[in-house]
């Protein structure tokens, strides 16, 4: 413990020195995990949780990433194809992909997130059954695909044809709901860094999803997190993959623009 404290103190001092030398582009004490005033949930986590995420070997979600890598090459469905049949090596073809979702789907005429895109590929190209939401296979695949973008900045398109959906997501974010009559922003904008009982409120950034939550003892999707938040304010949660949550995901990803993808992150 003592060692950790000393390490943090020296990081903070180093950041202050840099801050004094360059007045612009001050990254704060969190280095790449902070962009302007936007801070990854990593910076709100306990040092022990952060060290679990930092070491790929200790990070339990890497088991799901490995499983996803195996699924990537597994032939499934009537078309006799695997993901790799069209996309080849994920390390090149999937690089940066998860950072840019949700994206407009021309055929559906509305944005789709990564989970829905994977299932569209499965039903239309592979002629296979779609994965169930929060199933092991879908979490493994999204963790694996997301992991290929690790370190790349979150970068969703919110203008042009995406603008109306972005506005809907923004409205959802700022709209009071549930018995407690609270909006997302009341915790994650107005009180980020404060405490909610024993937990520290983060800014609610989405750059680490699917995230391994120690409470869940497994990885979970962003929509599972949305449902959890909605339930906590005593509101009726929407379905996983509903339009409301996809729009909200678009807005939340834009809120964290520039933050590095951390998939799979570890949180409490």
């Amino acid at each position: 413990m003592k060692k950790t404290t000393i390490a943090f103190a020296s990081v903070a001092t180093a950041a202050l020195v840099v801050g004094a030398w360059t007045s612009s582009g001050f990254a704060g004490q969190w280095g790449g995990k902070q962009v302007d005033d936007r801070r990854s949930g990593y910076t709100y986590a306990e040092p022990e949780t952060r060290s679990m995420q930092d070491d790929d070997f200790q990070n339990p979600a890497m088991v799901w990433v490995d499983d996803g890598a195996a699924l990537w090459n597994k032939v499934d469905g009537e078309a006799g194809k695997s993901c790799a049949s069209c996309h080849n090596a994920a390390a090149t073809s999937m690089k940066g992909v998860s950072a840019s979702y949700p994206k407009m789907d021309k055929k559906l005429g509305k944005p789709q997130n990564l989970e829905q895109q994977i299932n569209e590929c499965r039903t239309e190209r592979m002629k296979a059954k779609p994965y169930k939401w929060e199933s092991h296979d879908l979490l493994a695949m999204t963790s694996f695909v997301g992991n290929q973008s690790r370190g790349m900045p979150m970068n969703v398109k919110v203008d042009g044809e995406m603008a109306p959906y972005f506005e809907k997501g923004k409205a959802f974010y700022n709209e009071r709901r549930g018995l407690l009559d609270m909006a997302c922003k009341h915790c994650h904008e107005d009180n980020a860094g404060g405490q909610i009982r024993a937990n520290i409120l983060s800014q609610g950034q989405s750059n680490g999803f699917p995230t391994y939550r120690l409470k869940w003892q497994k990885p979970g999707s962003l929509h599972r997190r949305f449902r959890g938040c909605n339930k906590q304010v005593r509101a009726e949660p929407f379905k996983n993959g509903s339009d409301e949550y996809v729009n909200l995901e678009l807005y939340v990803n834009w809120r964290g623009r520039g933050l590095p993808v951390e998939t799979p992150a570890v949180r409490n």
């Binding site: 070997f57 200790q58 339990p60 890497m62 088991v63 490995d66 499983d67 120690l214 003892q217 497994k218």
Partner: protein, 108 residues
């Protein structure tokens, strides 16, 4: 249960102490929870024993209890003696045994 993830150094000098890291996927059901729909207790299913053998000799034996988290991670240190297999065994309540073997390459 999936294959455990094991990390050992590629080679170690004789007499040196090296770290072994291992992570296994297991739900570690404590036996304290109830099924929300039926109200019945979910039976306990945890890994209750972990052993490590190096060149046939036991280097670590441990009993695990319900407070161990799901997907348990273990790290321990072993002194390099001579080249040979390090065999790790996880035994769960169902009597299922998962084994992982890694070869330790000891240089002079």
């Amino acid at each position: 249960m999936a294959k455990p993830r094991v990390k050992v150094p590629q080679s170690v000098k004789k007499g040196e102490i090296f770290e072994v890291k291992a992570l296994i996927k297991h739900k570690m059901e404590t036996g304290q929870r109830k099924d929300k729909k039926t109200g019945n207790k979910i039976p306990r299913d945890i890994i209750n024993k972990f052993t490590a053998n190096y060149n046939g000799a036991m280097v670590l034996e441990s009993e695990w209890h319900p407070a161990v988290s799901a997907n348990p991670y273990i790290a321990f240190f072993v002194r390099a003696d001579k080249s040979g297999p390090l065999v790790m065994k996880w035994t769960d309540d169902g009597g299922k045994i998962i084994e992982a073997t890694s070869n330790i390459n000891v240089t002079a």
